[in-house]
Symmetry: C2
Subunit: 322 residues, 2 copies
């Protein structure tokens, strides 16, 4: 879960020299920051450093990161004509730099450490594409869903196909697990999720599943419709920090694996004793069942002390060994 990042001084050192986009585009840098957390911590897997908005960029939109405001995509996609202008390109060409980074990481990873590739789920990516950047209320996104469902379906269809091709290319390049991030899906009501997002996530997951690698399906704010998120697919269902892991697993069903779900704020700000107690509670709720991937319930926050990450990783390994 977003292991690379600003909380690591070695990451900041590279970040000083380059924009986020430049880091993604230069495979040596992307591979380097992907590997950084594994040099420090005894993690079981590396997760590729990339950005979910590289996909709409590869489809012809301009991606910029505005300081303090987050990503910006232009021109915003609002009409059927705008959707028609999006190009389904071959990821082997348009996203070759990501695939090169995947190859570099795989070559460098020691035996027994897996590489997780990833992409944003169609809904989350569509929301940026329609709003032109981050959004508080997803007004234009929901207006398109409900007001112009044909435009919505055309956009989601294109994003789903492009995302599936991109993830399959990541697998071909060496990714051993794929994680699909539907980070902002918690802003949808359950019926809207079911009608407007689920079919397209399912399409992506099915396409990736054909490669034979396991898929982790993650969303935040999903406590109200976790069963539906699980219904869209994924060998592993990622659980955000709000829903207790035992209750989440029961709702998802024990035939599926689960990932999660420590509150990232505790890693960033709680005293060690409280942090480890909370981690222990997550493990207790997992109940020693096979198929639990310990993780945070969302990404590592920038102000997280690296020393706490080490303590947490080591603690989870010690506890799991018992």
């Amino acid at each position: 879960m977003r292991q690379a990042g600003r909380y690591l001084p070695e990451y900041r050192k590279i970040r000083e020299k380059a924009t986020l986009l430049e880091m993604c585009e230069r495979p040596e840098w992307a591979a380097e920051v992907t590997l950084q957390p594994l040099r420090r911590f005894d993690l079981d897997a590396a997760i590729l450093f990339a950005d979910i908005l590289l996909v709409p960029r590869a489809m012809g939109l301009k991606l910029e990161f505005v300081k303090g405001e987050g990503p910006s995509l232009s021109p915003a996609v609002r009409t059927l004509k705008d959707v028609a202008r999006l190009r389904e390109t071959a990821p082997e060409d348009s996203l070759a730099f990501v695939l090169d980074a995947v190859r570099l990481v795989r070559r460098a990873l020691p035996e027994g450490k897996a590489l997780i590739g990833f992409a944003g789920a169609p809904f989350t990516v569509a929301s940026y594409v329609i709003e032109g950047g981050p959004s508080d209320h997803y007004l234009r996104t929901k207006a398109m869903m409900h007001g112009e469902p044909r435009t919505w379906d055309a956009l989601m269809g294109k994003l789903a196909r492009m995302t599936a091709a991109y993830l399959r290319a990541q697998v071909a390049a060496g990714a051993q697990v794929i994680q699909l991030f539907d980070s902002w899906v918690g802003n949808l009501s359950a019926p809207d999720y079911e009608r407007f997002a689920l079919p397209y996530s399912r399409e992506v997951i099915r396409a990736v599943a054909k490669t034979g690698v396991p898929v982790i399906h993650f969303g935040t704010g999903t406590g109200g419709f976790l069963e539906r998120l699980a219904a869209a697919g994924g060998d592993v269902v990622g659980v955000d920090w709000a829903t207790p892991l035992d209750e989440a697993w029961k709702r998802v069903g024990y035939t599926r694996a689960v990932q999660g779900n420590l509150d990232p704020v505790l890693l960033a700000a709680a005293p060690t004793k409280a942090l480890l107690a909370a981690a222990k509670d997550v493990l207790r709720r997992a109940g020693g069942r096979r198929g639990h991937i310990f993780n945070l319930g969302h990404g590592v926050l920038p102000m997280t002390p690296p020393e706490q990450v080490r303590r947490l990783v080591d603690f989870v390994h010690e506890e799991s060994a018992r």
Copy 2:
């Protein structure tokens, strides 16, 4: 659910002349904007115009509304000493202007229209008190919970007592229903909610329940722990827009009433046909059972067209009459 507000031109007319705080402090204005939505729409109840941060202000903190940044409370409360400085004042004195507004509204309300009083739940108010304003991650709030639980408990105890006294005073002044807003509680994990928030919300709700008026207990982002929110109390459990109402009601139990839960974004941005279809879906999920209060799943957004509110209110009344 926050019926008064910027989406109404008659509200903006008063707002031009006064700050938000001045509008709260002048009972005639507060009463006027409370009544405005009922003049336009056939609503069943009025909800008092006030701000949840009037309570910490009445305890000695300075409250300001910074344009574009939201509310600011100072000095931020971080230590046991800071907590000790908060004064439990008599709401009959420190919040007399709110109680005057309650009396004015009650006098003006026609027969058959109820007045809902309200306050923020201790957790939501505490988060502002600790962070000094709105927060993305509630880092200091969670750090206090887990690192300084005694400070946390002291703060929450004070807030709970003050809030209970304030709500009881609202009832004495004429409020016929009380709504407790735990707006940001969805940022807590379920175990944290249970340990750090629930006991204090329960304390407030119990104190209010003794007056005999019904209590609506509302939170957003509660899909992961709705049962626990319900366990804290409330004759009515407010459901945010993410969890389907039928599933929410089942989880809460049919001995309780429920309120909700149309996505406010649909009221603001969806075409009428889609809006009414979504409203009908909420009613269908309520299943014609007694004890459903139709409402939005959060507040009315500023860009909402008043005409849509009218259409929605009328549609719900027509459908309910069948």
